[in-house]
């Protein structure tokens, strides 16, 4: 489909040298000798020369070819040059075809020539001077060649525009399909997050009922089985939730806007507080810098990083988390520092991938998706993230985001 819509490209136009289009010249004369003589002179121009012995033959050629110029003998039997010219000019296609009349110094002819007003016209007096003939004809040859080049370029441009329009249409169609697929995925995710998680909530709910109402009738082993059952259901629930969050982070349409970190951090921390974190000390330094970010993606980053910071501590240690920002040129670096167990340098490059859990972390709850969400979210906001850490020395996670222009503190 595409190829057929494209104008065929002539190979010579692909070379860098200026295009040499061959054009046609029509010679009309009843005397074969004159025809031959003129042909000999004009052949030096390197164009295609076609000869006609009278007006009728000339018209027949005109119907088949386009001509750069017609060299028309005025003095011909039956139909003379002027009559032939009148017939040619009747057809719209030849309205503008240049005609050079060849005539003797005949007053009548000159008068008629002057009165002749149709299209580009010139004249030559007999006997023809070869240089003059060549000069006059070559002017029209050059004109025709230039016209042809411009026409080819215009055709190319039109074809190019047509192709572009077609491509645009294809892109538009793909875009529409993508939008459909995306909203389907959105609906699917919503269903998954509600319907897939509901049974897990039921499992956990009934475990609680069993432990509270029937726990005394079970021995310790039985109660431990119930606790294991609850843990498995909660883990499945966390996995589902994190996978959904990852999916959403990956496809959420991202427009960056100025975001104040302080209130966002407070909201995220209050949500984490509702969970399982026991008495973590989280310090937010005053005067945090504002960033350009996306609210949902930033929320995902912060909640995962802070959650990790409070989670991976040695038994008996109270988690200490410090959050601060520093200006680095046109970027803001957000630091989340903890007093946790730390991460060996050999794992630093792996932890931001999906399902990478480091070393002996199996005694800690976690899905292995959190840092993948952070990495993806930061990537989508055009930022960067990383970690400085060593075993036993805590971890310092950082996120770089563009600096925000000043946000009015109207809320204060």
């Amino acid at each position: 489909m595409h190829e057929s819509a494209t104008a065929p490209i002539k190979p010579e136009r692909k070379t860098s040298s200026p295009p040499k289009e061959i054009v046609n010249i029509l010679l009309v004369d009843d005397q074969p000798g004159k025809l031959l003589a003129h042909e000999a002179i004009l052949s030096e121009l390197g164009q295609r020369i076609i000869k006609a012995r009278n007006g009728v033959e000339a018209l027949a050629h005109l119907l088949r070819y386009d001509f750069a110029v017609i060299l028309l003998d005025v003095n011909m039997p039956n139909m003379d040059g002027f009559e032939t010219a009148a017939l040619i000019r009747q057809r719209p296609r030849f309205e503008k075809t240049p005609i050079i009349f060849v005539t003797g110094y005949n007053t009548t002819d000159l008068d008629r020539l002057k009165g002749y007003e149709l299209g580009a016209v010139d004249y030559l007096f007999l006997p023809v001077v070869p240089q003059v003939l060549k000069a006059k004809v070559s002017v029209f040859v050059e004109l025709a060649r230039q016209t042809q080049i411009i026409k080819t370029q215009a055709d190319d441009l039109a074809a190019h525009n047509r192709r572009q329009a077609e491509q645009l249409e294809v892109i538009q169609k793909l875009n529409d399909e993508l939008k459909d697929a995306n909203s389907e995925l959105e609906a699917f995710s919503y269903t998954v997050s509600h319907d897939l998680r509901a049974p897990l909530r039921s499992i956990s709910g009934f475990v609680t009922v069993l432990l509270e109402d029937y726990g005394s009738r079970l021995d310790e082993e039985g109660r431990n089985h119930l606790i294991a059952l609850d843990r498995a259901a909660k883990r499945m629930d966390a996995l589902t939730r994190d996978l959904l969050a990852y999916g959403r982070v990956a496809r959420e349409s991202v427009t960056l806007e100025p975001v104040r970190l302080q209130p966002l951090l407070e909201a995220v921390i209050s949500l984490i507080g509702e969970g399982t974190t026991p008495s973590a000390n989280i310090t937010i330094e005053p005067e945090l810098l504002d960033v350009m970010g996306h609210r949902f993606l930033l929320e995902q980053c912060l909640s995962n990083l802070i959650n990790n910071a409070t989670k991976f501590v040695s038994p008996g240690v109270t988690p200490e988390v410090r959050i601060r920002t520093e200006s680095r040129g046109n970027q803001v670096r957000l630091w989340i520092e903890d007093n946790g167990i730390g991460i060996d340098a050999s794992y630093h490059h792996k932890i931001f991938s999906m399902f990478e859990r480091v070393g002996d972390l199996h005694r800690y709850e976690g899905t292995g998706i959190g840092l993948a969400i952070v990495h993806r979210a930061v990537q989508r906001m055009g930022g960067a993230c990383g970690v400085e850490s060593a075993p036993g020395q805590g971890s310092r996670f950082w996120v770089d985001l563009p600096t925000s222009p000043p946000i009015p503190r109207s809320r204060q």
Partner: protein, 141 residues
Amino acid sequence: MISSEQTIVILLVEDSPDDVFFFRRAVHKSGLSAMMHVAVDGVEAMDYLLNKGRFADAAVYPPPDIMFLDLKLPHVNGFELLEWIRRHAECPQPPVVVLSSSSQPEDQERAETLGAALFLTKPPAPEQLREAVQKCPLPRP
């Protein structure tokens, strides 16, 4: 404010039998003196509020003092029901506590815009139910 001694009428709009069970248990554990009725979807909730269909007897199914509403329901979902209640001034306008299986901020915002008084994540704890009842204004004298 509703005093804890007063018997209140609770309408729970919830399609999952498990969640109805957990809710009933939480009400029981909360110590609230409550009469609880269940509508299994948005359409049943409308019937209840208008005393139609199986809820025709207004003596047995009085206007609720508080309504707990699941968002994801068959036929007419929680959001649609909230809109419908706001549009029908002639039907009882109990305070609505939304129950959601996820704490998605968009859901919460939308529910609040539509007039929900509170937003709880399922399953609600007994003390959360007590708090909800204490916070919500009493519609009847």
